[in-house]
């Protein structure tokens, strides 16, 4: 009885050992297969040198960020500095000369206009103060006489009343 139990135990142990051996062998073959496949894949050329790839990719990662930000920041700074400066200079130095120029341009016109006006006034004065033309002289006398006559007659009427 004891012999039979030992035999069963031995069989079980042998089966287990055999199973373990098979699994170990399968795992060894699996490892060997994976190593061969990895070697085959690794034999394919890597993109031109990893260090070169790194050197190529490092600026590629930073440049877009810099390309986007640097010009925008530069433009913003330049605009922030130049616009007030330009406005300041435009206000201080740029604006006054223009009125001066305009004034300089307008002064001759004004003088010319003033001269013209003076001449015109002188002309008008001379013409107004000019003696009554001869052709109109009798009318002027008549006018004076009529005025005097009417004043006398009005005075007479008042006396009679």
């Amino acid at each position: 009885m004891k012999f039979r139990r030992d035999a069963v135990a031995d069989n079980t142990a042998n089966e287990t050992r055999e199973e373990v051996r098979e699994i170990a062998e399968a795992l060894s073959l699996y490892r060997s297969a994976m190593q061969h496949i990895a070697e085959r894949e690794a034999a394919r050329p890597l993109t031109p040198g990893l260090a070169q790839t790194i050197a190529d990719r490092r600026p590629a990662r930073t440049i877009p960020f810099g390309l986007l930000l640097a010009p925008a920041l530069t433009a913003a700074v330049v605009a922030a500095v130049l616009v007030p400066v330009y406005g300041h200079f435009h206000h201080q130095h740029g604006a006054p000369p223009a009125p001066i120029v305009i004034a300089a341009q307008q002064n001759p016109n004004d003088t010319h206009a003033a001269v013209d006006d003076t001449a015109l006034m002188n002309q008008i004065d001379s013409e107004v103060s000019e003696d009554v033309p001869d052709a109109l002289r009798p009318l002027a006398d008549l006018s004076d006489q009529t005025t005097t006559t009417s004043a006398v007659s009005e005075k007479n009427n008042a006396t009679q009343e």
Binding site: I23, E25, M34, Q35, I37, A38, E41, A42, A51, T53
Partner: protein
């Protein structure tokens, strides 16, 4: 080089002894190794690619993440202090990248299409022919295919632990450091993964 000298000075001022000297030498070795990055890529790329290929079973994703892994390592090389080996450090970066990749939407798309995924035939074809009979070769291929299918059905964490143990042949404590898990959690994942594979292998017989 200046960093190495600084590290050595700070470590020597902090303690003494043969163990400390050994740790310093290991760190210096790792940092010197990292100084020649082309050599780092040449030596460790197959290993990282193998890990990612075994975990993701997708050629393009594995290749892409491998390159990304070395890009990150290059960017963060000044942060590497040699506390772990260079291999562990790179594998940790790869594990983190893979986690992000698995979470991303793009993976869901690739999971549907699987345009560049490895096929079981790719795996079983690599079984060496140095076996006695065609029957034994066929049996071996069937076993590898069964393991392959079982690994694909593991959860992400189980698969990572399994690959690190049985493909990369890391020790359990190295796996724990690499993926940032407790040793007991690593053991638990590995136990479950092996149980699933054993079950599949029994079915495949």
């Amino acid at each position: 080089m200046e960093e190495i000298a600084t590290t050595r000075a700070s470590m020597l001022s902090g303690g003494s002894g043969a163990g400390n000297e050994l740790a310093i030498e290991k760190r210096e070795q790792a940092m010197l190794e990292l100084a020649d990055f082309d050599e780092v890529v040449r030596v460790y790329r197959p290993r990282i690619l193998r890990f990612l290929l075994s975990s993701l079973t997708d050629r393009d994703a594995a290749e892409s993440l491998t390159q990304e892994c070395f890009m990150k390592a290059w960017s963060a090389r000044h942060q590497f202090r040699g506390d772990s080996s260079l291999s562990t450090w790179l594998t940790r970066i790869a594990v983190n990248l893979m986690r992000d990749h698995l979470r991303s939407r793009s993976l869901r798309f690739w999971q549907k299409t699987r345009g560049t995924s490895l096929d079981v035939m790719d795996i079983s074809d690599w079984v060496p022919d140095g076996r006695g009979t065609p029957e034994s070769l066929a049996v071996a291929r069937d076993r590898v295919a069964a393991v392959w299918e079982a690994v694909r059905d593991l959860s992400a964490q189980q698969r990572t632990v399994f690959v690190l143990r049985f493909v990369e042949e890391l020790e359990l404590d190295e796996i724990a450091v690499t993926i940032g898990m407790n040793l007991s959690t690593v053991k638990s994942h590995l136990y479950r993964a092996l149980a699933i594979i054993r079950e599949r292998m029994g079915g495949a017989k």
